[in-house]
């Protein structure tokens, strides 16, 4: 059963809505900024993709009941935009036939930071510390009364969640599924990544010769999936997904890229496509030396020396962890809709290890029918997803 994308939404460091994000993509801009955090006994300047303070303030003012539940506010904003973009095309789907899948690593982790510091925190913010309860609250807000799931699988959560959305529709449990991804920059997450020495103090530079680490990001992405027969063409279809495990290391990628290659091959098989039918790849591209090396190897392993044009948007938004897959899928949908390929913000000099088809700047595509989206995460997880313009 074909599955189509009915609407997308986003909230990122670039501002509220897809329009701000796509404007930054078109300008190949970076929304990374520096803020000071007290981590342990030191104050550190952290370059990351923070949702602007005025945007957060506006969301809080509009929904005071969730004022200290940023994960809910961020995801709700992205979901509202996705539903608005879908418009009345979803009117035929009753609430009982609407499923919901949330992707997140730490849900409303702010609440744990506040509990540990013995600071006041609302009951709802504490409740939404549990990812599935956050999913249930968001599903109720979106009037999704069908099946609700929550995927928490590190940085592949988003792509796995989209795969679950497809599965729920194909199994006949829903006609449409709201898929959201959300994660926050918090003391908890910053303490972890600074302890691992994974952050680039100047801001990430994916696939750059001088890259030294990643930049965190926060925000949300949302994609509404629907049975394709309920959505008149032209539209974008989700053709196939695949996942794998490296069986190699908990916090680092496999050195040979074979696990990611396996996930890509599984997505291609599920979509019944050959590698040469892929026109563009949105890479994971975190900016860590090991990740970007591994991805380059995986892409060469699957595509040989004819790797399609590819990019990373982490230099724009930072790494949204569990939300990355959903957010980056919205960018892939936009690329298919506009025929324009995004660049790789903050790239100065391509590392020779990266295939020469790396996109430094945005440009019009020669051909853009199918897009591959890939993510990798802690615990050796890899995921891939393929989108297609229909009719092609």
């Amino acid at each position: 059963m074909p599955i189509a994308v009915a609407g997308c939404g986003a909230l990122t460091a670039a501002g509220p809505g897809l329009a701000s994000l796509l404007a930054a993509v078109a300008a190949n801009a970076s929304a990374l900024q520096t803020r000071a955090y007290v981590l342990g006994r030191t104050t550190q300047a952290i370059v990351a993709g923070y949702v602007p303070a005025d945007v957060v303030a506006a969301l809080r003012a509009a929904d005071p009941a969730h004022a200290d539940a940023r994960a809910f506010l961020f995801a709700a904003a992205a979901l509202d935009e996705a539903a608005a973009n879908a418009g009345d095309r979803l009117a035929a789907v009753p609430p009982a036939r609407r499923g919901f899948v949330l992707a997140t690593t730490k849900a409303n982790i702010d609440a744990l930071d506040q509990l540990v510091r013995r600071q006041p925190v609302s009951t709802v913010a504490q409740r939404q510390l549990q990812p599935a309860l956050l999913a249930a609250d968001l599903a109720a807000r979106c009037a999704c009364r069908g099946p609700v799931q929550c995927v928490s699988a590190a940085c592949v959560s988003g792509l796995l969640a989209l795969g679950q959305g497809v599965a729920l529709i194909r199994r006949g449990l829903a006609d449409a599924v709201w898929v959201a991804g959300v994660d926050l920059i918090s003391h908890f997450v910053l303490a972890g990544f600074t302890a691992l020495k994974s952050l680039d103090p100047e801001g990430c530079r994916p696939f750059d010769r001088a890259r030294v680490g990643l930049s965190l990001g926060e925000g949300a992405g949302a994609v509404i999936l629907v049975r394709a027969d309920l959505l008149a063409p032209p539209h974008i279809r989700l053709k196939g997904t695949g996942s794998s495990n490296d069986a190699n290391h908990l916090t680092g990628p496999s050195r040979d890229g074979s696990g990611l290659a396996l996930a890509i091959q599984r997505a291609l098989a599920a979509a019944r496509l050959a590698p040469d039918q892929i026109d563009f790849i949105n890479a994971h591209g975190t900016g860590t030396p090991y990740n970007d090396n591994m991805e380059a190897l995986a892409l060469r392993s699957v595509f040989g020396e004819r790797v399609p044009p590819f990019n990373s948007n982490k230099g724009l938004t930072g790494h949204l962890l569990g939300a990355a897959g959903v957010l980056e899928t919205t960018l892939c949908v936009a690329a298919l809709q506009t025929g324009r390929l995004p660049g790789t913000p903050r790239l100065r000099e391509r590392d020779p290890v990266a295939p020469a088809s790396l996109l430094a700047e945005p440009r019009a595509a020669d051909r853009l029918e199918r897009v591959l989206k890939i993510n990798c995460g802690f615990a050796g997880t890899n995921a891939a997803l393929i989108l297609e313009r229909y009719p092609s």
Partner: protein, 226 residues
Amino acid sequence: MNPPAVLAASYLGPEGFGNDLTGLRPWPWPLAEELARGELAGLHWSLLSASDPSRFLRMDLMCRLGFMAVELLDAHFEARPAVQRDRLGVCVESFTGSLDTDIRFAQTPRPSIFAYTLPSTVIGEICIRFGFRGPVLSLVAARPGGENAGTEAAAWLATGEADLALCLSLEALNPSTARTLPLPPALAPCLWHGAALLLGREDGSPRAKPFLAGPLAAACQRWVCR
């Protein structure tokens, strides 16, 4: 295509541990009393095996439970060829997830435990030990019991994404950890357990039994306590 079958089942919980071959065995005293109180620090690999996997001592409670549940399956994964392990998927479901480790990390951030602040880390530990490279999924549920893990793992078999699938239900929030914070009632510790099913296609082996839908933990208990 044949419907999925349960090829092996295992369970660890306050009342004991075992698999579908051994049935449920009681914990040795005085560990049994600690475990009955929900204090899990005494759960150790040596209860299952004389071998000493060095990774075990680094793991958090959730990973230890998952690791032990898979070991308890008595499925001899190491003997399977690599091609079969590439086609073995792992699906984990939990309500409390990594909350025990989250709380400890939030109180005392240490790099060595940060990797365990994800409910999916247990998948990595299991895959590293046995070389599994099939599809993966980590679900956090709104209640304990593993209602979805079995369904999702069975779906991999039905769609051909995997030939074998491990599904686990894990709950490992130590009450002594939970007591350190004023957690809301919605996040109160539930009964701890580690339960695992190995699903495959009916292979004619004496252990293969029809796959029953329903909460995974209940299914495991049913097999183990047959």
